[in-house]
């Protein structure tokens, strides 16, 4: 019961802040409302007892992505009234309707199969799955190498000499 109430409140906040993020005239307010949106997504993860996922959501999306967005906003030109030359309203509506139709179709036809076996503490299972030798340790190392390459590349591009 409590979980259901929490889910509905969080969903309301999530939808409201997402709509405001699109609607707001000022870009920085959109960024702020996007942060609230990310927070409520983290809250929904907690109601599903996926604590690790929720906290990583907060760390990555608020600690990194939101900061990146705000830093980028600093470099854009402030345009209070929105883009006046925007004539893409009708294609946007058609696109949104298509996505909504696809989403409804998927939601109505899919089976939503959950696990039946108890999985213990979620974080432990995740750690064992990722780093055990019979798990995905090779993929984790490959992903780490790709990120390292990206960092080295960024430093090489950004260096003055």
């Amino acid at each position: 019961m409590g979980l259901k109430i929490a889910f509905y409140i969080l969903s309301l906040v999530l939808l409201g802040s997402a709509i405001y993020a699109i609607q707001a005239k000022s870009v920085i307010r959109s960024a702020f409302s996007l942060i609230i949106c990310f927070l409520s997504v983290a809250g929904i993860f907690i109601t599903l007892s996926a604590e690790f996922l929720a906290i990583i959501q907060v760390m990555v999306y608020i600690g990194a992505v939101a900061v990146l967005i705000i830093m980028t906003v600093m470099m854009t030109k402030q345009n209070e009234a929105g883009n006046k030359s925007n004539k893409l309203k009708i294609p946007a509506i058609i696109g949104a309707l298509c996505v909504a139709a696809l989403g409804c179709y998927t939601a109505l036809t899919s089976k939503f199969s959950g696990t039946t076996s108890p999985i213990g503490t979620e974080t432990d299972v995740l750690g064992v799955t990722l780093f055990d030798q019979s798990g995905y340790v090779l993929l984790v190392i490959i992903a780490a190498l790709i990120i390292l390459t990206a960092i080295v590349g960024a430093i090489t591009v950004a260096r003055e000499k």
């Binding site: 000022s26 920085i28 942060i35 907060v58 760390m59 608020i62 939101a66 900061v67 432990d124």
Partner: protein, 354 residues
């Protein structure tokens, strides 16, 4: 029992944590003014109440009665919301700290990551304060604060990872339980890195470039007055309370005392850590922005990486080593590596060459 009920536990623990938070903020403001007065050979507040103890309450009343000025061209919504966004996460960090064996608001099994994640929300809030007031000094202050926070988060997280490796758990309660001896003796290098980077994260004096009076007036809080300024002041001291509690919990053994276990050893350790911060504040001058940054990237980051490697090697290859050998090797290694590395690294050397 009635107190084992979920909701009762939640309400009582939350009330105790909030009371702890505000009580120690007021006490820390008083302590800071008295101790800094002592360091600077003057008296500090001494008129209101015994030893000036009620000065904090008088300040609170003054701030609440003040006019709340909202400048004309600010972004009104952000101007109201961002102090709250900076303030609330600071208080939320206390939720995972164990105050006694079994007394904790919630024992998250990802407590360490929770601390890092929640404190990053606060930094965004402080930056938005600087942006919302539509003032260039405010913006520069917020920008500096955010850049410093992002940089110092890296060595801090690396140190936390080494703590997790050596304790074998991510729960804060588990880390306290794993400290048969305080972590500061096992990993002095980790303590040094963590302490310096959390000083920078909470913007205490050697690193308070974001509110540096001589360059950018007051930084991010330049346009704030009345209750909203009080909120930012609470953020500053609340971060000091939380950081002292964290250092006491993670490195000084938490609620484990020499004679008794419980909240009292934790409080004593926390106050000692805070007095140490004050000592640093009274001793060191403020770093400039580029020196603060290069201290992080060129000094702390290599040390934190080395510490991570050292801890991982110790846990992987020598898990059964006697305690005194580990302690001895760690201390010698810490002294040696800091001595060697500080010979290589001189702050401001780049400027001298130009």
């Amino acid at each position: 029992m009635w107190y084992e009920n979920f909701w009762w536990h939640l309400v009582i623990a939350a009330v105790i944590l909030i009371a702890y938070f505000f009580f120690f903020i007021v006490m820390f403001i008083w302590t800071e003014r008295r101790v800094i007065g002592f360091f600077q050979i003057r008296r500090g507040p001494n008129r209101i109440g015994p030893l000036g103890l009620f000065q904090g309450i008088a300040d609170v009343i003054k701030v609440m009665l003040k006019e709340d000025i909202v400048p004309n061209k600010t972004d009104k919504i952000l101007f109201w919301l961002s102090p709250l966004m900076a303030f609330v996460p600071v208080m939320m960090i206390l939720a995972v700290i164990p105050f006694s064996k079994g007394f904790q608001l919630v024992d998250l099994n990802v407590g360490i990551i929770y601390i890092a994640a929640v404190s990053s929300i606060s930094s965004v809030g402080v930056f938005l304060c600087g942006y919302a007031c539509n003032n260039k000094y405010g913006l520069i202050g917020g920008m500096r604060g955010l850049a410093q926070f992002i940089s110092y988060e890296i060595p801090m997280l690396l140190v936390l990872i080494s703590l997790v490796i050596s304790s074998g758990t991510m729960s804060v309660n588990g880390i306290v339980a794993a400290q048969s001896l305080p972590n500061i003796i096992f990993m002095p290098l980790a303590f040094v890195c963590y302490f310096i980077s959390s000083l920078a994260e909470i913007n205490r004096t050697p690193f308070d470039v974001m509110e540096c009076d001589s360059e950018i007036v007051a930084g991010f809080n330049i346009e704030y007055s009345g209750m909203k300024f009080a909120m930012l002041y609470l953020v500053e001291y609340g971060e000091a309370v939380v950081m002292s509690t964290l250092v006491a919990t993670l490195f000084l053994g938490g609620y484990k005392g020499i004679f008794i276990d419980g909240p009292i050893p934790l409080l004593i350790k926390m106050v000692i850590v805070f007095l140490f911060i004050l000592w640093i504040r009274a001793t060191l001058p403020r770093l400039t922005v580029e020196k603060s940054m290069s201290l992080c990237w060129k000094f702390l980051l290599p040390l934190a990486l080395f510490n991570l490697l050292f801890t991982a090697v110790r846990i992987t290859f020598f898990p059964d080593l006697a305690q005194w050998i580990v302690v001895l090797v760690s201390i010698v290694m810490t002294v040696l590596i800091i001595y060697l590395w500080s010979g290589l690294y001189k702050p401001g050397r780049e400027l001298q060459h130009e």
